[in-house]
């Protein structure tokens, strides 16, 4: 398990917010932790894939999408807070996220 420092968490949050702001063509300041990525930003699962690929590149990880899919079965991504939490867990646990 990798250690998740407050700095890394902030970095992950920034990466996610920057990505959604650009892809969904909204001002980053308009996105909060309570924003619903699907309903409020119009995001889709292909954007999610891209974000996972960015995370894998950034932190040199080999991420299996099915592991994340199984995690999402029990933990729906209703808010940006859920999304940030999940990417932090991906950083920490990698493919073992499914057991968290």
């Amino acid at each position: 398990m990798r250690e998740l420092t407050p700095e890394i968490r902030e970095e992950i949050k920034d990466m996610i917010f920057d990505y959604y702001a650009e892809e969904c063509e909204v001002d980053k300041d308009e996105i909060t932790m309570d924003t619903n990525p699907q309903n409020d930003l119009g995001s889709d699962s292909l954007m999610f894939v891209e974000l996972i690929e960015m995370t894998a590149d950034k932190y040199d990880m080999d991420i299996k999408l099915q592991a994340i899919g199984k995690y999402m079965l029990k933990t729906p991504m209703d808010t940006m807070s859920d999304v940030v939490d999940m990417f932090c867990k991906i950083y920490q646990y990698g493919n073992d996220i499914v057991n968290q």
Partner: protein, 300 residues
């Protein structure tokens, strides 16, 4: 082998008109409206898509995609971005046939219109078919997962799109079961199109005779630029090749992922997505050192 460096990628149906049109900048929207008015008037379709009958509404949406592809393709060419080769994903084969000059744009629209006869034939024979997309699985993943549970008569992989995107096609109840299975096995998303048709499944051959005959009812010119087949990955340069590609399209599975890899192996480094909303770039992936450019990239 001839060296290619730039490929144009044409999208099939699937994007909703509103999602395409919102991405067209004003100058391209003017051109779109011009083509849209001419096409819908000629074809007798209601310009208010909602007011069309069921089959007409479906083909009307697909013709909007076709026209958007044409507008973006023309924009790229006018910008001096000229392809060495192209590829069409599913009904993108119809788009590329028109844009690369094998058939007129009007005939390409007529090909799309003739999908109505296929839908009618399927309904008359009580066939309940569908297609679906699984996100998070590769072609091999899906083959392994579904291969032992479904016969090819029930379900096939209609297209392997990329390492995380696969389209399945077949009998509606099989598609539904397969999507549920994929979801439970960790698909990020698995959803059906609800199209009532199973494009790229062999069963369609029996019900698309009118479509296939219509495709063959004109003379195809050699394309202005070569086109790679998404079925056997040959580089096509003759009119006969393009006719065959259009006919195979309805009932033959695609390997889009392999097609893009082949293009990269042939030297292509720049891929240009001709869909207005960058749909191709979203479900496709190309090798490292290659890049897919979208209208957004070119226009900004």
């Amino acid at each position: 082998m001839e060296n290619f460096s730039r490929a144009f990628l044409f999208n099939g149906i699937g994007s909703k008109p509103e999602k395409l049109l919102v991405k067209l900048p004003p100058e391209l929207m003017d051109r779109y409206i011009c083509y849209f008015d001419a096409a819908f008037t000629r074809l007798g379709l209601n310009k208010d898509l909602e007011k069309n009958t069921v089959y007409n509404r479906k083909v009307a949406e697909w013709i909007v995609s076709l026209i958007c592809d044409r507008v973006v393709h023309e924009y790229y060419i006018e910008k001096g971005i000229v392809p060495d080769i192209g590829a069409g994903y599913s009904s993108g084969i119809v788009s590329i046939s028109g844009c690369f000059g094998s058939v007129s744009h009007e005939f390409a629209q007529d090909i799309i219109m003739s999908n109505r006869s296929t839908m009618r034939c399927l309904e008359e024979h009580g066939q309940k078919l569908d297609m679906g997309v699984v996100i998070g699985f590769s072609y091999n993943d899906i083959q392994e997962l579904l291969g032992s549970s479904f016969s090819p008569d029930e379900l096939v992989i209609g297209s392997g799109n990329s390492k995380f995107h696969v389209m399945i096609s077949g009998r509606a109840e099989a598609v539904e079961r397969a999507l549920e299975l994929c979801q439970n096995e960790g698909a990020l998303k698995a959803f059906s199109f609800g199209t009532g048709v199973a494009y790229h499944h062999p069963i369609m051959k029996e019900y698309s005779k009118e479509y296939v005959d219509f495709c063959g009812s004109t003379l195809y010119a050699p394309p202005e630029y070569p086109i790679i087949s998404v079925f056997d990955h040959r580089v096509m340069t003759s009119g006969e090749d393009i006719l065959r590609e259009n006919q195979l399209n309805v009932y033959t599975p695609i390997r889009w992922d392999v097609t893009l890899d082949k293009l990269a192996d042939m030297g292509v480094k720049e891929f240009f997505d001709t869909s207005a909303n960058g749909a191709v770039s979203k479900f496709s992936r190309v090798k490292r050192k290659c890049r897919i450019y979208t209208l957004d990239d070119v226009y900004s």
